[in-house]
């Protein structure tokens, strides 16, 4: 894989190159349709950091970093997790259920809800891993199929048995404020969800750089058979990595429900496309956790800036999706320019 062959410096150079090339190409697209690329980029940049932009970028970074790391830890160990959507839904629903129906005091309920989400998302991904290990159904496909099933199931549950009849939407009741995650801690623009995600991110980075487990995962990703011959229990490790990847996705679902949306609304978790953006950030970063975090914060800023640009200029924010895609493609096309034979 390219990932392994590149050292950190050339990886950074590659990413920077892709971003520059994508910005130029994206500018071309904008320009061809008659708009002014410079003002578009200026608005995106302003919108991402100025005024409330920074808060919003940080808030959006939480789920994005989470989903990106969920993809990255799996990629690191050689698994492609396309089922992030499903794991996030299952985790989010578990969190909502605990927060709504488990009769314990507020804070304990929130903690319990997070734990439930982690277990639920993790187990859901684990199930797909089991299918790969026992029946040879590729994890990539199994997780994707499970994702569709989770969509239907959660959609049914919140439409019928769990629905709050007071609203016109298929959604659960609203979580009581005691069980919510505070949006501001000590009046700082820092939410509880950010703190949780920051802790998770630090653990993942440290584990990847110097943890024994992270080392084993990375070596497995580089050569699974070597890892097996050296004493790694591949089956157990695949299960563990799948579980953790799914657990993180589930946690993201819970953080969104308990920290932002306060109820499980059909479709609301998936609408922003965190899973795919996250997967792209992980891929852009070649699964290195630090680079993944940087890339996903960058994508979050791009998206937030895109919406702000849309408000200011009336150009559709999907332009930022185009930009993200172009960055990925330029990264993949990098060898065209740096090729040696």
């Amino acid at each position: 894989m390219i990932a392994a062959a590149l050292d950190t410096k050339s990886r950074l150079a590659a990413i920077l190159f892709s971003i520059v090339a994508a910005v130029l190409l994206g500018g071309l697209v904008v320009g061809l349709t008659g708009a002014n690329p410079i003002s578009v980029y200026l608005e995106i940049a302003k919108g991402a950091v100025l005024g409330r932009g920074l808060d919003e970028t940080l808030a959006r970074s939480v789920p994005l970093v989470g989903m990106a790391l969920a993809a990255a830890i799996a990629l690191r160990a050689g698994l492609v997790n396309l089922g992030g959507d499903g794991q996030m839904l299952i985790g989010g629903l578990a969190a909502a259920l605990v927060a709504l129906y488990v009769p314990v005091p507020g804070v304990a309920r929130a903690v319990l809800a997070l734990a439930a989400a982690i277990c639920a998302g993790g187990l859901y991904a684990w199930l797909a891993a089991i299918l790969q290990l026992s029946l040879g159904i590729p994890f990539l496909i199994a997780s994707l199929l499970f994702s569709y099933i989770a969509r239907g199931l959660t959609s049914y549950l919140v439409r019928y048995p769990l629905r709050d009849p007071a609203t016109g939407m298929p959604e659960t009741y609203r979580v009581a404020s005691g069980a919510r995650l505070p949006a501001h801690i000590f009046d700082l623009p820092v939410s509880m969800a950010m703190i949780v995600m920051a802790v998770v991110a630090i653990v993942i980075v440290v584990n990847d750089r110097s943890g024994v487990n992270g080392f084993e995962w990375r070596m497995t990703g580089l050569n699974a058979r070597f890892a097996q011959y050296s004493g790694v229990n591949l089956s157990r490790q695949t299960q563990r990595v799948a579980f953790l990847s799914g657990a993180l996705a589930g946690l993201v679902g819970a953080l969104l429900i308990l920290g932002q949306q306060y109820r499980f609304t059909d479709g609301a978790l998936l609408a922003p496309g965190y899973t795919w953006s996250g997967l792209m950030a992980a891929v852009l970063a070649m699964a290195s956790p630090i680079a993944t975090i940087v890339a996903s914060v960058f994508f979050a800023a791009l998206q937030v800036g895109g919406f702000s640009m849309e408000r200011a200029l009336g150009l559709p924010a999907v332009l930022t999706w185009v930009l993200q895609a172009l960055i990925i493609l330029c990264l993949a096309a990098r060898p065209i320019l740096f090729r040696k034979r």
Partner: protein, 295 residues
């Protein structure tokens, strides 16, 4: 009634089948293609856009094929020629397709969401009066040329793959590219050509989706069909008849699911049907494979 079911199954499966064939070709050439969804979407967009401009369905289909083939070229160049990761490029292309079609819809046509225009007409259907109610025959008749083309392609694909020199080379290239190179096959050129050809097939799939019956383009109208095609390639083991069977299964599951709604089953559950059935089929195949291994 049965005719109706069969006819709907055939309609529902055609775009998926065309895309799955594209996926299977790439798979056989050793390039994992998860960009089917995006390429199909581009095909649908181009087909409708061309129709708006020129009003000709034939031209629309041709330009969909052509433009989607061009759109596939990053996968062809990056994935096949330069050893880029096809999964990475595939994800990028899917996103690019979604973003670009939406953006261009507004930028070129000044509309959002859907592009409908009187100039856009559906592809003509072959209806033979009097035969429509004959069991099975009636269901098989009454579709447009692309539906029949997709069946024809299955057989062409089968013969190509297993009977012609080029198919033999493709199988070899997909299995051990270095061996094929050593035998004098130009692996990357071959892969590039196949990926671009597959792009054209996805263009057909998109054209069928947009012009097969509805004659309009809606944002994101592929609605996951490209992913179903990816799964069908896996399920059918990239064998032409296998994927045809898998797509037939999907079409059937979908059509039956629609009917079960009428029987009072919530649509959230019937929506799962195609995926659940696929999963069960894979589990079945997996179990059988396991038994074989342990004998």
């Amino acid at each position: 009634m049965l005719n109706m079911l069969l006819s709907q199954v055939l309609d529902l499966m055609t775009p998926v089948l065309l895309a799955a064939m594209a996926g299977a070709l790439c798979e056989r050439a050793g390039v994992f293609n998860i960009a089917l969804e995006g390429k199909m979407l581009v095909g649908a967009f181009v087909a409708v856009a061309t129709s708006v401009a020129f009003g000709s369905p034939v031209l629309a289909v041709l330009s969909a094929v052509l433009c989607t083939a061009v759109f596939a070229s990053p996968l062809a160049l990056g994935g096949a020629r330069l050893g880029g990761d096809p999964i990475v490029i595939g994800i990028g292309l899917n996103l690019l397709a979604a973003g670009l079609t939406t953006y261009l819809l507004g930028a070129i046509f000044g509309v959002t969401g859907t592009l409908v225009d009187p100039a856009v007409t559906a592809l003509p259907k072959f209806v033979i009066a009097g035969l429509a109610d004959v069991p099975v025959v009636g269901a098989i008749l009454g579709h447009n040329a692309l539906v029949y083309l997709s069946w024809l392609l299955i057989f062409v694909f089968n013969i190509y793959l297993f009977r012609t020199p080029w198919g033999l080379r493709l199988r070899g290239i997909g299995e051990v590219p270095s061996a094929a190179a050593a035998m004098g096959a130009n692996v990357s050129r071959y892969q590039t050509a196949i990926v671009i050809l597959a792009g054209g097939l996805c263009g057909l799939a998109g054209a069928q989706l947009a012009l097969g019956s509805v004659a309009l383009f809606a944002e994101n109208m592929t609605a996951g069909r490209g992913w179903i095609a990816v799964v069908a390639v896996m399920l059918g083991r990239a064998h032409p008849l296998g994927i045809a069977l898998a797509c037939l299964g999907f079409g059937l599951a979908d059509a039956v699911g629609l009917r079960l709604q009428g029987q009072g089953l919530p649509n959230q559950i019937t929506d799962i049907a195609p995926y659940a059935i696929t999963l069960l089929a894979m589990i079945g195949l997996g179990l059988r494979g396991m038994k074989k291994r342990s004998v």
